[in-house]
Symmetry: C2
Subunit: 345 residues, 2 copies
C-alpha cells in the first residue's frame, strides 16, 4: 500500500467518536456542531469544526438522508440563466436556501424540453422541495409530487385552479402603479408593450395598467404586442409605436430588457427621452440604474419573493410546508429615475 493510499484509507475511517475523543467532548457535541439548527456555543462549534477538518472527519449527509429522509437539497428549475432578471431570482433563491442549511440543485430544461420531461430525473435526487421558475406544471405532475410528499412552489408564475403553491410579484398592482404614475405626471397617451402573450406576468401587468387607466377615465391608451420579453422585441415594438400618427407620450414596457431595446429605437429615430417620450420598465435589473438608461421601473421584491417561496415549501420555519396550496402576490415598488418626466413642468 502506498503512503497516499494509506493516508486516504485513514481519512475515510475517521469517525465522530475519534473527533470526540481528541477534544474530550461527547459524540452528541460533534453531531450538534454539524447540524445548522442545533444549539451549541459558537466557540465549541468552531473548535469541533477545526479539529474535525484536521483529522479529516466529515459526516455523510447522503447516508444520513436515508434515515432522516431529508437531503438538504432544494431543486430549482430555471431556463435562460443569462436573462438578468432570472439571475436576480436565482441569486435570491439560492441565498435563501443556503440560509436554511440547504443547497440549490439546478435544473436547466434543454431547448424543447419542459418540466414534465425533467421531473423523473429531478425526483431521483430525493430533493426536499422543488422551485419551478421556468414553466408551469400540469395537474398530473402536481399530483405526482404531492403523492411523493415533495413540496413544490411555482416562482414568478401561477396557474389559476392548480393545486400548488405559487409566489409572484403582484404584477397587476404593478401595472396599476404605472398607470397612476403616468397620469399623475400628465401623460395623455400612454402605451403598453406586451411580453410573452400567455405569461401570467404579462397578462397581469397589462390588465392592471389598462384597468387603472379606465378607472381614471383615460381611454386614449395604445397596446403594442412585443411577442416576447427580449431586447429586440422591445426595439421593434417601439419603432412601430412611434411610427403611428397618434404617437404615445409614454411607453410602459413589460420588462426592463424590452425597455432598453425601446430606448435604443427611440434614440435612433432622434426622439429625446423623457422630453419626447417617457419610458417605464418592469423588474429593476441592475442595468436599469446605469445613467444611460436611468430607467423608471417597478422593482420586483426579489428577496421577499424568495423568502415566501422557501417558507411555503416548509424550509426556514419550525412548521412544515403549508398544507393548503397558496398563491402569494407580493407588491413591487415604483423606482423613479430619469426616463420619465412630469409633463406639467
Amino acid at each position: 500500500m502506498t503512503e497516499l493510499a494509506k493516508k486516504r484509507r485513514a481519512v475515510s475511517q475517521v469517525t465522530a467518536e475519534d473527533v470526540a475523543r481528541v477534544l474530550g467532548v461527547s459524540q452528541s457535541t460533534i453531531s450538534r456542531a454539524f447540524t445548522a439548527s442545533a444549539s451549541i456555543a459558537e466557540d465549541t462549534k468552531r473548535r469541533v469544526l477545526k479539529t474535525a477538518n484536521a483529522l479529516g472527519y466529515r459526516p455523510n449527509v447522503i447516508a444520513r438522508s436515508l434515515i432522516t429522509r431529508r437531503t438538504n437539497i432544494v431543486a430549482v428549475v430555471m431556463d435562460n440563466l443569462t436573462d438578468p432578471c432570472n439571475a436576480l431570482f436565482l441569486d435570491a433563491l439560492s441565498q435563501r436556501i443556503q440560509n436554511c442549511s440547504c443547497q440549490t440543485l439546478l435544473f436547466i430544461p434543454a431547448a424543447g424540453q419542459d418540466v414534465e420531461d425533467i421531473l423523473p430525473t429531478l425526483l431521483q435526487y430525493q430533493v426536499d422541495a422543488i422551485v419551478i421558475t421556468s414553466a408551469t406544471l400540469s395537474s398530473t405532475m402536481a399530483r405526482t409530487c404531492a403523492l411523493r410528499e415533495t413540496p413544490v412552489v411555482l416562482f414568478n408564475r401561477y396557474v389559476p385552479g392548480l393545486d400548488i403553491h405559487a409566489v409572484s410579484c403582484d404584477n397587476e398592482a404593478g401595472g396599476r402603479l404605472v398607470a397612476e404614475f403616468l397620469i399623475k405626471t400628465s401623460h395623455v397617451r400612454p402605451a403598453y408593450v406586451s411580453g410573452l402573450p400567455d405569461a401570467t406576468t404579462n397578462i397581469d401587468r397589462k390588465r392592471g395598467f389598462i384597468s387603472r387607466l379606465d378607472e381614471l377615465g383615460v381611454t386614449s391608451w395604445l397596446i403594442e404586442e412585443g411577442g416576447d420579453y427580449g431586447h429586440e422585441a422591445g426595439y421593434a415594438a417601439a419603432k412601430r409605436l412611434v411610427g403611428r400618427r397618434d404617437r404615445p407620450d409614454a411607453i410602459f414596457f413589460a420588462s426592463d430588457i424590452m425597455a432598453f431595446g425601446g430606448i435604443e429605437a427611440l434614440r435612433e429615430i432622434g426622439l429625446r427621452i423623457p422630453e419626447d417620450v417617457s419610458v417605464i420598465g418592469f423588474d429593476d435589473v441592475p442595468m436599469a440604474a446605469w445613467p444611460s438608461h436611468g430607467l423608471t421601473t417597478i422593482r420586483q421584491p426579489v428577496k421577499e419573493m424568495a423568502g415566501e417561496a422557501i417558507a411555503l415549501v416548509g424550509l426556514g420555519s419550525l412548521e412544515s410546508a403549508s398544507p393548503e396550496p397558496r398563491t402569494s402576490f407580493i407588491p413591487g415598488t415604483l423606482v423613479e429615475r430619469t426616463s420619465t418626466i412630469d409633463r406639467r413642468r
Copy 2:
C-alpha cells in the same frame, strides 16, 4: 388509513420488478432506461419511463450512491450571480454537467466568506467534483480534496504552482489580440483600464496587451487603474483618462461591464465613439451586441471552457479525472463591432 395515505404507501413500495412485470421486460431493461449512458432503444426507454411514472416508480440515486460512491452531483462555487459574465459561465457549466447525467449543486459564498469556509459543508454532500469560479484555494484545502479523491477545477482563474486543475480563457493572448487590432487600425495612443488588481484575468490581459504593444514598437500607451470589474469603475476611469492632456484614441477595458461604464462617461463629455475614441471590452456578454453599445470585444470561449473543466474532473469521458494537475488556457476571439474604427479611413 386514509385513501391518500394508502396511495402514498403504495407509491413508495413500487419496485423495478413491478415495472418490469407490467411491461413484460427484464429488470435490467428498467435499470438501463434510468441510466443515461446505457444502451437502449429510444422507443423502449420512452415506454419504460412512461409506465414507471404512471406506477410511481423512481430509482433512488441517493441510495445507489452509497454503493457506486457517485452522487451525480457536481458542486459549483460562484459568487455574484448577477454579473452577466458569471451568468454565462454558470449557464455553460450547468448545461455541460447535465449532458454528463449530473446536476449542479450551487454554493454561493456569503459576504466575507471564502471557499475554505464552505468546503466542509460542500464535502458533506459527497459531490463527484468541484468547480470553483469565485476564488482560489489554498494548498492545504487542495490537499484535503485530493485525499478525499474529489477532483477540483478552478474556473476562470488559476494559481501558479498549486497542485490543482484550472481552466481559463487565454487572457494574455486576448490582450495581445487587442493590441494588434488597435495598431493595425492606426491607433497611436491606446490605454488599458485594469480590473481587480490581483486577479489573474486582469494581470494576464494587461501583460498581453502591453507586451504586444512593446513588440510592435508602441511606447505611448497609458494604464489607468479601475479597481474592480464594475460599471462605476469603468465610468470613473474613463473620465480620468480623457481629462488628461495626452488623451488616448482607444481604450481597452478589462471587462465589458467596465466598457459600458466607460461609454457612458465618454458620451456624457460629448466625445463620439468611435470617431473620437475607440472602445474595446473583454467577455462578450449579451449586452455587448446591443446597438447602443456595439462593443468590439474579446469573446470568452465559454462553452469550450466549460467542456474542458468538466473533462478535467473526469465527467463526460470514459476515462476518469486527469491524474496530473493541468492548467488549460483556451483562446478567445476578437468580435469587431461599431465601437472601434480604422483611423486610416
